[in-house]
Homo-oligomer: 283 residues x 2
């Protein structure tokens, strides 16, 4: 496994792989790799000849009061995990390598970024779109892998890639969960032991929504109300949002029909967690 | 010469050229080709193995009251000119092929797009950046060619390409002029014969600015005042802007020093013309 710290090095490694006729898979990450990331890596390894993992805590997707500084950066551990999986190349630019001052170009997406996490994380998806476009242009992958856990990010990046004609396939992989069902996240490690127990409230509310829909409930307000009550049973939980949206443009729906995304964001103490589930009545 | 009307066809032609180890040059145009465009084509033909000319009147760079509908579209004549030059491929998507409804992704650039043409053409450079990024991702050229006549567009696209890490070299080519010095433009054909004569006012004002600087004038307000007076001698001319800006971020300067761009936009009747000149005191 090679580790490239600069864009130029990375391009050289990629170019060599290309010359050997290899297909390239990219797994963009902010490091602090968990089983969720490694599942993306495994998908890439099984589908592409050359797997690149980028590790970069992208400052432009953090708001001014978010956790940029304290975001975990266990780089050696991440490298070890990638090496064990069989990753070909880690691209780990330094904090200032990705943005040359003054960086002035931004990619924005209408509609898809307005609701859900976009409401409390203003500018977040602009930062995500911009850095992912940069990674796409640096690595020039055939396939890029993203987790279904970040459902809004996934929908936005799919749309960005298609609107801007990136010649890249966006592949999504299912959310990987801990034994108690909590979605794996690098932010779970912020939680104290009692808080960690309460993190199950997200999936429990989503499961409740699925049950309600199975039993015939189609009114999203009613479903959201019951989800809210479920989460409020957990003393450390504070709801950021509970949203039921169409699966394409992520716009709120009044009635469950076709394919919908049910997404929640909950503060557990000072840690914000997200989770989601897709419900497809057409299937 | 091949003509591709769809993105898919274009990708096939490009991919074949790539497999033959050919380097790709792209000349993005809105058609109505004149000697200025053909000079870009010639640069590409001399530097790249495979030259692509895109012909697409991009609706998203026109304002609601601009000349989208009446913009000239002499497609057969353009094809003939390209064939005579030795162009390998024309990419001419239909009006709706480039933007799939709903198109939601936009590339914006800070600072560089605020002044000059950005002031009277709100949203213009957002449309330009977005369509050029799309063309870059469709054609994947090694080199893309743009005219110095559109100096602000050139500076913006250079910055966009570098900020987003497109693996593409942006090459600029000098403005090509008619025998009376008027910069070639597809919009010149809108001018009635008497108006056409008055179009020399742009270059005359720029030449005056150069003379003033050569004779020691460094105060940009004074230079702009004299340029303004020069243009006002032409009865059909109405000044949109006269700007003297630094050559990197295109910010107005009080004093001429180092490398500056002097740019003018003038309405001749209902036709808006632009021209510019670079002055480099460091050389």
């Amino acid at each position: 496994m090679d580790i490239a710290n600069t864009i130029e090095q990375t391009r050289k490694f990629i170019s060599m792989a290309r010359q050997q006729g290899k297909s390239i898979g990219l797994v963009p990450t902010m490091g602090a790799l968990h089983e969720g990331h490694l599942s993306l890596v495994q998908h890439s390894l099984s589908e592409c000849d050359f797997t690149v993992v980028s590790i970069y805590v992208n400052p432009t997707q953090f708001g001014p009061h978010e956790d940029l500084e304290k975001y975990p950066r266990p780089f050696d551990k991440d490298c070890k995990a990638c090496r064990e999986q069989g990753v070909d190349l880690i691209f780990a630019p330094g904090p200032d390598d990705m943005y040359v001052d003054p960086h002035l170009t931004w990619i924005d997406i209408e509609k898809l970024g307005d609701g859900l996490c976009g409401q409390s994380r203003v500018g977040h998806f602009r930062g995500v779109c911009t850095v992912v476009a940069k990674l796409f242009n640096i690595v020039l992958p055939d396939v890029a892998y993203f987790g279904q856990k970040d459902a809004q990010q996934l929908a936005i990046l799919r749309k960005m890639s298609s609107d801007l004609n990136f010649p890249i396939e966006i592949r999504s992989c299912p959310t990987i969960r801990e034994s108690d069902g909590v979605a794996m996240s690098s932010r779970n490690q912020y939680l104290a032991s009692e808080q960690r127990k309460q993190a199950v409230c997200l999936l429990e509310s989503l499961k409740l929504a699925v049950e309600l829909i199975k039993s015939g409930q189609r009114n999203t307000l009613a479903i959201q109300r019951e989800m809210s009550e479920k989460i409020e049973q957990f003393s450390d939980a504070k709801i950021d949002y509970i949203s039921i949206v169409d699966n394409e443009l992520l716009q709120p729906v009044d009635t469950v029909s076709g394919s919908v995304l049910i997404a929640v964001a909950v503060w557990i103490g000072s840690t914000r967690l997200i989770d989601n589930i897709m419900v497809d009545l057409a299937v």
